[in-house]
Amino acid sequence: MTTFVEKIIGPRTPQENLAEDRMRYLLPTIFFLVAVGLLVASVFFPYWKMTLQAPQYPKGLSVQAYIFKLTGDVGEIDGLNHYIGMRPLAEAAQLERSLSIAAVIVLSFLIIGSIFIHTRYTVLLVLPAILYPFIFLGDMYFWLRNFGLNLDPTAPLSSAIKPFVPPVLGVGKLAQFVTITQVQTGFYLALAASICILIGLYFHRRAYKPLVESQTELDSQATEKD
């Protein structure tokens, strides 16, 4: 009789199956580990970038969002934003940035943990990592909206620039500035991690579903016998 824990983690792979076709059982592990690698690597790259172009800034202004910090012309963009009454960029997503590294570590451990689980519950463990890049974009939208709609009404240009929602991705226009927002290397790495997990899940199902099914069959036979 299988315990509750065994029901969650599923059957272990019999030695004879491994001997016959080791790769079948190795593939999901490989894809999950690659996903972890990509996810961890993504921390070191910017996820998102906003570029401001205006005639008097021939090289443009840009701010890069890593998951834990902002880099680039933050001071200059803040200086310009004060004209329209936008709060300093550093005030955005402070909680998210402070938790981001821990979150990636947790996601990584969930993926690694899922390697040892051979049932459909694996999906639950890796689901946060799959959704993670989209959560990032959603959060970015939330803050852009929050900042764009909450302009200081006493700012110098408040009568000229009405509250607005800057686009998360794409091209916008504000006074003489063209704003270009786009995802960056870090985001692509996280997205690649999601895809690796999905592929890993396919191989996972191919490898372990038969084992789970035969286990269930054995269990039901055992129950019948009882």
């Binding site: 490989i30 894809f31 012309d73 200086g79 004209y83 692509y188 690649a192 690796c196 592929i199």
Partner: protein, 671 residues
């Protein structure tokens, strides 16, 4: 079985590879697209425009060589003296656009130079003479710093002929950092020139006077009046001339004129020409020969040949006398230690220029149609041979025939010589007026097809050329390409703007060999009377875009202890002393209200907290003669006594933003 195995697991690894490829593509995707300019097709309209404006094909060619469309940068940068404007001009070439005026000896309000900012007042005060505030200068000869005889783009120096001062300009921010008054001389001319590694800056005198400028009657001219050359030690680390490691050499009261440092084979030697070896003392009002006549009697004057390496040893050995607390090697010591020789040079010369390899010294006698070329090898041999005549002070004179290599008849009124990379030398001809191209011999003979030591061609200039400057034309590796004729008179070249006319800089194309040397462009100089200029390849300069950190003090090129970061603005009072820490950013000063009492002493610090390229703010305080330029990152400090009461609106004087007019504050001085 094996094949099957590969087939079976091929797909997953293909997938991994595809993901990897996509990642690489995503990472490198931000490369940006390159634009290729459309090829220049000349339309038929060009001819119509040219006909309408009366332009010749040569004019069109010159236009195409010099026209610099918006956004295109110049290939060379010229540093030109400003003459008695006391400034230096920075000019792009070949566009001949004035890029900047660097304030040096003369206050200049746009740069806030000398109108309150301590960093500028302190530099100007270094140039005070016996406590007198001398607030102008006559800048003559810029000298770019060199490394191994090549311009390195780090520093530029210049002299003030009128007051015997030299200045140090830092090319990280193009601002003057130091002014040094020569303690023994009241005027100079043969400066500034640098030794090939910029260890020494040369400052030669001009009109003889008692060293230390004490009184002596002109009747005692030969006994009491003296010439001099000063060697200033430059320290790159601190960016300063170290006066306490510098020294001078006493010279006869001939009027030393221009100097040049030896290079390569002649490194360690310095050459200066002189005039008025007649020792005329003028007095035309008393029936004596005027200076212009009295100083032009002899056919030969003396080129001074100075063994600098040996002079440094003599100075280090302490064989100096103190004049006005400054160490001077006496003439007698110079003679005894074999530091100084003369070579006769024709006639009333103006300029001695060392060839790129250091082998030849080119002297032009203003009143002799030749350039005279001396051989450094022959000079060494003559010194070695010994058996000299001496002048009346006992200084050995080498025999003219022993040291001359060649003479080339170039034309009337030859003055200054520059060099090209192709064996050509260029000499300005004041009287003709023209620029002459002639050939060097010896190791330079095979660099062109023209015979050695001969005149090749002349290009007329407009008018009365003084110095000329060729691209890197006084370094060990001249670039050729362009030459600028620094003309004193413009006459009919520009619209009449009243009796004081601009000078005329004429750009000449020297890129082709032989007799082709066309004039390209005229640039009026309406704000000074330049003498010499040097031209450096633009890519050797690497100035800052903004000061490296917020709170930068340009005087010390490091952070200012009174830097005011945003959020630290405040006003503090201690008795009658009020101290203000202010920030400036587009488009406000903080604080905007400064309330003080009449009689207070005010110390005011302003930091421009901007990091944007070109986001300079001005600070102008009316009624108190204060105007300051605060470049991005800079901290400026000024002090004043609030002597008069009233309401004073201080404002940003550099149009900084759309709300620039609103960048204002009130200083309220209560009676």
């Amino acid at each position: 079985m094996k094949l099957n195995y590969v087939k079976k697991y091929f797909l997953p690894f293909i997938l991994l590879a595809v993901i990897g490829f996509l990642l690489v593509a995503a990472c490198s995707g931000a490369g940006g697209d390159t634009e290729t300019p459309e090829s220049a097709a000349v339309s038929g309209d060009i001819n119509a425009i040219a006909a309408e404006r009366g332009l010749t094909p040569a004019d069109i060619e010159a236009a195409v060589k010099t026209y610099t469309p918006t956004g295109m940068l110049d290939e060379y940068i010229m540093f030109s003296s400003g003459g008695h404007s006391g400034q230096m001009f920075v000019i792009g070439m070949p566009s001949m656009r004035l890029l900047k005026t660097i304030a040096i000896f003369t206050p200049e309000p746009w740069q806030g130079w000398g109108y309150g900012a301590q960093s500028t007042m302190e530099v100007l005060d270094e140039g005070n003479i016996d406590g007198e505030e001398v607030r102008w200068g006559d800048t003559h000869h810029p000298a770019l710093s060199e490394t191994a005889g090549e311009y390195d783009g780090e520093w530029v120096f210049i002299n003030d002929k009128a007051n015997a001062r030299i200045a140090v300009i830092d090319l990280r921010d193009f601002e003057t950092k130091q002014i040094i008054k020569n303690p023994i001389a009241i005027n100079d001319h043969g400066g500034t020139m640098v030794t090939p590694d910029t260890e020494w800056i040369i400052e030669g005198g001009q009109y003889a006077a008692p060293l230390g400028w004490e009184y002596a009657s002109l009747d005692d001219y030969e006994d009491q009046y003296r010439g001099m050359v000063t060697f200033w030690k430059f320290d790159r680390e601190s960016g300063r001339v170290l006066a306490d490691q510098s020294f001078a050499m006493e010279l006869p009261p001939y009027w030393q004129d221009l100097c040049d440092a030896g290079k390569l084979v002649s490194e360690g030697w310095v050459f200066c020409n002189s005039f008025n070896t007649e020792m005329a003392t003028g007095g035309v009002e008393s029936g004596n020969p005027s200076f212009e006549a009295g100083a032009s009697q002899r056919d030969m004057d003396y080129m001074h040949i100075i063994n600098l390496d040996k002079a440094i040893e003599v100075y280090n050995a302490g064989q100096t006398e103190m004049v006005a607390d400054f160490p001077v090697i006496s003439m007698q010591t110079a003679i005894d230690e074999s530091l100084l020789y003369f070579a006769p040079e024709p006639k009333s010369p103006h300029g001695v220029d060392v060839s790129p390899g250091g082998e030849y010294l080119v002297v032009s006698g203003k009143l002799d149609p030749h350039v005279t070329i001396f051989s450094f090898d022959k000079i060494l041999a003559a010194i070695q041979a010994g058996g000299f005549e001496t002048d009346s002070y006992g200084i050995p004179i080498l025999a003219f025939d022993d040291v001359v290599e060649a003479q080339v008849e170039v034309g009337l009124g030859p003055l200054h010589t520059q060099f090209g990379p192709d064996g050509y030398a260029y000499t300005s001809l004041f009287l003709e007026p023209a620029v002459a191209r002639w050939t060097l011999g010896g190791p330079y003979e095979d660099l062109n097809n023209d015979p050695a030591w001969s005149l090749v061609t002349k290009t007329p200039v407009h008018y009365n050329v003084g110095h000329i400057a060729a691209a890197e034309g006084d370094t060990v590796s001249p670039d050729g390409k362009y030459l600028v004729s620094l003309n004193k008179w413009a006459i009919d070249r520009f619209q009449n703007v009243g009796p004081l006319l601009p000078q005329n800089f004429q750009l000449i194309d020297i890129s082709q060999p032989g007799t082709t040397m066309p004039l390209l462009y005229d640039m009026p100089i309406g704000n000074g009377e330049p003498h010499y200029a040097q031209i450096i390849k633009a890519d050797k300069l690497d100035p800052w875009e903004v000061y490296p950190e917020i709170g930068w003090n340009p005087a010390i090129q490091s952070l200012d202890p009174n830097a005011t970061l945003a959020g630290e603005e405040r006003i503090e009072r201690d008795g009658n002393n009020v101290e203000i820490w202010m920030s400036a950013v587009r488009s406000h000063f903080n604080p905007e209200h400064v309330e003080i009492n009449q009689g207070d002493h005010v110390t005011w610090h302003i930091t421009n907290v901007e990091r944007a390229y070109d986001a300079t703010h001005g600070f102008s305080l009316p009624g108190y003669n204060i105007t300051i330029s605060i470049e991005p990152g800079e901290t400026a400090t000024f002090e004043f006594d609030a002597t008069h009461d009233g309401v004073f609106s201080y404002y940003c004087s550099e149009f900084c933003s759309a709300l620039h007019l609103e960048m204002v504050g009130y200083m309220l001085v209560q009676p």
